[in-house]
């Protein structure tokens, strides 16, 4: 048994190469079909995301191609010369391929460490391969384990906790202040790029109303159209602040737009309801003393950035424990695959051996009783088959359960016992899953 993973990712290849090799939706099914035709007898999965394009193969040593052949396939399929991307291709073999997939699922190979999207993308790739029947027992085991490992790593290392971009930290903050958003009003002051990005994230919370105000009415109008929001004239900023629960401020004003005394009055008019102010402007739009007011949470862009940095550092600390989990799980998964292969071979050998015995005895019986009718012969053959299946039922079940109970590289005693009891000969040399990258 051999495993191979070949592809490009954000580390090995620039975006242009990744885009050229991507298997986006119209190409995905055709790609899987073409792969199955070009490399028959292999289990195949294609993982194609914005940051990586990878092909996973598993099969017998004879059927699994080398990385160069896969590179040629990619070039032919996408209609680009393989020299253009060959230098960016990375390949992993056997245990290395399993470990790589686990690291990908655990988001250790992602552009943003600990991001949650990749686990869903691995699940989707696996599901697509199952649907198109390009997957077999090896990748069922490997991909199901990868999904479990991805989840375990996130749970145990807390790697998915705390956002690492300023805009997503802002969304987390909003969730820590407010419970529901359908009854909330968001006010955007100014129309900076950062404000746009933050609002894009906040929009996912489905706020009840979005108000936009800007000194330049045309820019306010443009932003309002973009966000399906309501424009408020800048001279009515005080009233808009009273209505707003969440304020995103991003003006280019040299002086604070909202002073302390003004916001005290606003907060009084708001009947001291909870408010969250995200001051993304440099210099500040809101007097920092406003943050000391009861029921008011004021975050400046530097606070958001510092929190994102701390979260990134925290995720980084989870890498070593994650790698330990992955190393352990990779070894266990490869051992399981080896045991499954050995058990599969044994079951096949056992079946063939029993078939041979049955056929030999039936031939001998029919030779000594030539007068038997066709119906009698069929009945006797059927009875022999049922007898064989009933005799082999428990040994087969025992071999299957022994696979799940095997914990190391040595074959389970039941496998050796079945070989010995049924005279199937010595244990064949184990199939190798080398640790090569």
């Amino acid at each position: 048994m051999r495993l191979l993973a070949v592809g490009v990712d954000h580390r090995s290849a620039p975006a242009g190469v990744r885009e050229a090799l991507a298997f986006d939706e119209p190409k995905y099914t055709r790609g899987l079909e073409a792969l199955a035709q070009t490399f028959p007898g292999n289990e195949l999965v294609i993982l194609s995301t914005c940051n990586r394009v990878e092909i996973y193969l598993a099969g017998s040593p004879e059927s699994v191609p080398d990385a160069e052949a896969l590179g040629d396939f990619l070039g032919d399929f996408h209609g680009i010369r393989s020299e253009l991307f060959a230098g960016h291709l990375v390949n992993y073999h056997d245990e290395g391929a399993v470990g790589h997939l686990f690291r990908v699922a655990a988001s250790l190979e992602s552009l943003v460490l600990g991001e949650g999207q990749i686990l869903g993308q691995v699940r989707e790739a696996y599901r697509a391969a199952v649907e198109r029947k390009t997957i077999g027992p090896v990748f069922h085991t490997v991909f199901q384990t990868a999904l479990r490992v991805g989840k375990t790593v996130r749970e145990r290392t807390g790697m998915n906790q705390g956002k690492v971009s300023v805009a997503s930290v802002a969304v987390d903050l909003a969730r820590e202040v407010f419970d529901t958003f359908a009854d909330k009003t968001v006010l955007v002051i100014g129309a900076g790029k950062m404000g746009d990005l933050t609002l894009q994230h906040l929009k996912a919370l489905n706020p009840g109303r979005i108000l936009v105000t800007n000194r330049n009415p045309e820019r306010a109008e443009a932003a309002a159209t973009r966000w399906n929001a309501q424009v408020v004239p800048f001279d009515r900023l005080g009233q808009a602040l009273i209505e707003a629960d969440l304020v995103v401020s991003t003006t280019a004003a040299a002086e604070p737009v909202v002073g302390f005394d003004q916001y005290v009055r606003v907060q009084r008019a708001r009947r001291n309801r909870l408010s969250l102010i995200l001051d993304i402007a440099i210099p500040r739009d809101f007097d920092p003393r406003i943050g000391d007011l009861d029921q008011v949470t004021l975050y400046h862009v530097d606070d958001l950035r510092a929190q994102a940095d701390q979260n990134r550092l925290r995720r980084q600390k989870g890498v070593d424990p994650a790698l330990l989990i992955i190393e352990r799980e990779t070894a266990a998964c490869c051992a399981l695959v080896r045991h499954q292969q050995a058990a599969g071979a044994l079951l096949q050998q056992l079946g063939n051996h029993a078939d041979q015995l049955r056929q030999r005895e039936l031939t001998a019986l029919f030779a000594t009783h030539p007068n038997l009718s066709e119906a009698d012969r069929e009945a006797i053959a059927h009875m022999a088959m049922r007898l064989q299946n009933q005799f082999l039922h428990h040994p087969r079940a025992a071999v299957r359960s022994a696979v799940t109970e095997s914990h190391d590289d040595h074959p389970h005693p039941i496998l050796s016992a079945v070989r010995h009891l049924f005279g199937l000969g010595d244990y064949p040399p184990p199939s190798s899953l080398k640790k090569t990258t």
């Binding site: 202040v177 009084r268 000391d292 009861d294």
Partner: protein, 289 residues
């Protein structure tokens, strides 16, 4: 032997609390199941214990002594805590705030609060006495819930003001959520406490009118009466704060903690300190004033 029984569920709640605290270091969904499982087990054992007390006293709800009423209070608070553990996302550290409260109430009831009471009244007086007790018990449950929500609010607000990222494993409910639970609990607690105290006052006046030969009459200077009045005033202030925008948020939460302190002193402190009171449930503790 009886304390051993109390120790059974107190110990289970204690283990549940240890599991809940382990959320700071252990990040596994198994820990959550263990915490909820242990809390449920503790609650079930306590239910059996209270059912046994009810059978023994031939009552529906065992609230005739200070010990029993604090035990029932802990039992209801544990149930509400369990509800929130299951209802809110698993990451939210409800148990860290509720389980110490439950454990504290059980331990105080089991080891510091007197278990006997020479409750003499019968007939209508006994009926209204029970109604008085149940109203106050309902008020106390709401106060405990408001207290836990208040603590959650203050912890979350403190963290947000400090601008530190949330500690791993220690997710708190949003400020709005804590505020809503706190407000709801206070709104329900106030009428319950008011009616409970009013019934208590009427009962006291009625007893007084029966003549000086009645052994146990409550005076206005009785520590239980003074403390209960103080508690009611804090609750009135809390309710008033709901209509005074300036008093929203932190001030309300601090007042909730003060109200809880009054409740603990009125209900448990006086009993535990053996202060002289002529109040029904604690007469034998302090004797006549």
């Amino acid at each position: 032997m009886d304390r051993l029984k109390v120790l059974c569920f107190a110990g289970t709640y204690g283990l549940a609390l240890v599991c809940e605290l382990a959320r700071l270091v252990v990040r596994s969904s198994f820990r959550w199941y263990l915490t909820v499982g242990l809390t449920s087990l503790g609650w079930l054992v306590q239910t059996v214990y209270l059912a046994n007390l009810a059978l023994k006293d031939q009552v529906f709800l065992p609230v005739t002594t200070a010990f029993e009423s604090v035990m029932v209070l802990a039992w209801i608070v544990a149930f509400i805590g369990l509800y929130f553990m299951l209802h809110w996302p698993r990451q939210v550290a409800v148990g860290i705030f509720v389980l110490p409260l439950v454990l504290g109430l059980v331990v105080v009831a089991g080891w510091f609060v007197p278990r006997e009471s020479d409750w003499l009244e019968e007939g209508m007086m006994a009926f209204w006495g029970t109604v008085h007790g149940i109203f106050l018990l309902g008020g106390a449950v709401c106060t405990c819930v408001a207290f836990a929500a208040g603590l959650m609010y203050l912890a979350q607000m403190r963290r947000l003001k400090s601008k530190r990222p949330a500690r791993l494993g220690l997710t708190l409910p949003s400020l709005e959520q804590s505020e809503r639970v706190n407000r709801g609990a206070i709104t329900i607690a106030f009428p319950l406490l008011t009616f409970g105290l009013l019934i208590g006052m009427i009962l006291s006046v009625k007893t007084r009118s029966l003549g000086p030969e009645m052994a146990f009459t409550l005076s206005w200077t009785d520590p239980k009466v003074v403390s209960a009045l103080g508690m009611w005033l804090v609750f009135a202030a809390l309710l008033h704060a709901r209509f005074r925008p300036a008093l929203r948020g932190r001030s309300v939460m601090v007042l909730t903690i003060v109200a809880f302190a009054f409740l603990v002193f009125t209900w448990i402190g006086i009993e535990a300190l053996r202060l002289p009171t002529a109040h029904g449930a604690a007469r034998t503790a302090g004797g006549r004033p």
